[in-house]
Symmetry: C2
Subunit: 407 residues, 2 copies
């Protein structure tokens, strides 16, 4: 049994395909016979929807193009395995399929839920004495996985967000004679890493956001009002960054208040108002100046045209490490990124027990959140800056990025 | 009198500073003594808020950085001059200031309103027999100026929008097993050029948007419903592009319906719902599938990190041409971009009478809008594709684009 199978799961990122390339290249280098890709993760595998990666990645040029293509090349899924103690039927099916395809190593690239899948497959495999090895490769723009210094996908999203923050501030300040408040809404329901990344815009040519609100600290609307009022005394153009997940002390998301204030619309559907939209309406009412809500939406997680080369490389290396471990007979692990040295930044790839990872969420340390919860410290900047270094520009064709697409 | 003054006006773009660089470089090459930049356009000039460009652009390196910096370096304004037939006081003030600073050539970089400024100054100047020459350089991402094949700023915005459309489609299709409808909202109140640019995403590796709605054609909600229903029979993941300015046959903007359906919120403020948000709510109600509204917001007009090199060059050339004409004693003109040859694309810079430009809006030709107003033709692609060619990547510093900022 020398075959490998690899899947991608959860939300997309700019570099999840670089991890896939790492898995494929190392598996072939280690003599794997076939490397199968699951279509739409474990969900497709259960229907034997697979692709032989040799047939679609048969040249260095195609592998390079894969590394520069955003989102999950193999397709994704959100599929939660049942508890193997309670429901064994699905596991029996999975292991019979793994046997049928002579799989030695099973690699899953994803976030928290994906590591939960690796954990359960590992536990079930050990229970039945299976020799198959299960190893995860980390992926999430949210940067919230435990046991790793950071996650592949975060650096590229952070780089795009910080660059767009600089560009949006340039855009706003052209009307420097009028008072304006722009509010950017960034992904991150519980973890504020990506919203904190807007602070990377700070520098000699940019003030960065005036206020930054992360979900790690409860949001107080009146304290916010006071801070905005004080800032407007000093400057005309405010840029504020908020995480979509900010909530008040009672745990109610700010965007839920937006929702509560609205009637159901013509379709009987309660529209989910964005946090930024809610807060700009508040500011317009309170301060009477021009406001604008900017939601980065999915753009922030798929902007591979401006990916971090550091991130692309580390994604590749973590895929490489995962399959190397699995083909060496190790199981129940996730590849991790370890900061071996601060300055100059050195990243080493490690391995951690997946039992310590699944269902744990790593948040921004509270001591990095300053100014009564409205800024981030230089410690955060020192942490994040190395992760956005280097540009991975796309393969271009006819003026646009070219992507590798699985038909 | 050998001095030049230049201002920037209206909404920002990725390349308006490249036009400014063109004005500066040509003015110096033609022996201009001083080149003044108005801060915040004519509004700042009236308060004598100016900068001597030699003091801030004194090296090739700084000029290069200016060309790669988005939004208006000098600041902008939205200031409409009165009718010179009715109110001469302001014109007397402007011309006395122009005399004070020994201005021979007045260059204004902007869109429709800016050309209105050039027109009025020209007319007043001719009435009083002033030798000062007034020439405009075109700028608008909206691409809606008359007498020019296209406008500087459009190509870069179109390139970013088309690239993000490709990336967002990659992002959406990872969940290919579920039905999803994503709706992107693009700038353009009356002209659909930028929304049409999403069609550039079409190619061997991308289907492009399934439906594209421009403001040039009235939008019919029930016809839209029928098209979406028919598409969902054939495929799972729909991507739809709409202009913020789409309206129904009665002329009511679709986003106004969103507004009408909502109660005022907690602040007594009627929130302006986006067109995309309204239509995703409609689709969710009608089809019960996952939807997502993506508003490009200001990101689309300031994304200089992925500008079109063709656009950056043409912006520079149009600034160059404008000041060359003015210093040669010509007045009442705007530099224009002329398509001298289709394939290969050749652009020549011309001049047109500003009286034919101000207050005229150039829309997408109706014959380029197909499929009952839900797609654009290959004629549009042939028109727009040359304008997004080449990448003007930013000057990078510490992982982020570096900008030139006027203190």
């Amino acid at each position: 049994m020398k075959n490998v199978i690899v899947g991608q799961s959860g939300g997309p990122s700019s570099v999840i395909n670089s991890s896939l390339a790492g898995v494929y290249c190392r598996a072939k280098a280690m003599g794997a016979d076939k490397v199968y890709g699951m279509r739409n993760g474990i969900q497709g595998f259960l229907e034997e929807q697979m692709v032989d990666l040799d047939t679609v990645l048969g040249s260095n040029e195609l592998v390079k193009l894969l590394r520069k293509t955003p989102a999950a090349y193999l397709g994704s899924c959100r599929f939660k395995l049942p508890d193997p103690e309670k429901d064994t039927a699905l596991f029996e099916k999975i292991f019979s399929l793994l046997k049928k395809y002579e799989i030695a190593a099973f690699i899953y690239i994803g976030g928290n839920d994906s590591m939960d899948t690796i954990r359960k497959l590992t536990d079930y495999g050990q229970k039945i004495g299976s020799p198959i090895c299960f190893v995860g490769a980390p992926k999430t723009i949210d940067n919230d996985l435990a046991e790793t210094d950071h996650t592949p996908g975060f650096g590229s999203a952070a780089k795009f967000i910080a660059a767009m923050t600089k560009e949006a501030i340039r855009d706003e300040v052209v009307y420097s004679t009028n008072k304006t408040i722009y509010i950017m809404e960034i992904m991150g329901r519980n973890a504020g890493w990506l919203t904190a990344a807007t602070a990377l815009a700070r520098g000699a040519d940019c003030p960065g956001p005036d206020l930054i609100y992360l979900p790690e600290v409860p949001f107080d609307l009146q304290a916010f009002r006071a801070k905005v009022a004080a800032l407007l005394e000093k400057k005309n153009n405010l840029m504020i960054a908020v995480s979509e997940g900010i909530h008040d002390a009672s745990g109610t998301f700010i965007c839920e208040y937006a929702d509560a204030d609205k009637a159901v619309d013509a379709f009987g559907h309660k529209q989910m108002g964005g946090t930024a939209t809610y807060l700009t309406a508040f500011c317009e009412k309170e301060f009477g100046c021009k406001t604008r809500a900017i939601e980065f939406s999915t753009l922030q997680r798929c902007a591979a045209h401006f990916a971090s080369q550091t991130d692309v490389n580390e994604a590749f290396q973590s895929g490489d490490k995962a399959v190397e471990a699995a083909l060496s007979g190790r199981t129940g692990l996730m590849a991790t990124l370890l900061r071996a040295n601060e300055v100059p930044y050195v990243c080493e790839i490690g391995l951690a027990d997946v039992h310590h990872i699944s269902n744990v969420e790593r948040l921004v340390p509270l001591e990095w959140i300053t100014e009564e919860g409205s800024q981030v410290s230089d410690d955060f900047i020192r942490y994040a800056l190395p992760l956005i270094q280097g540009e991975s520009y796309p393969v271009m064709e006819n003026g646009l990025p070219k992507h590798l697409v699985l038909k």
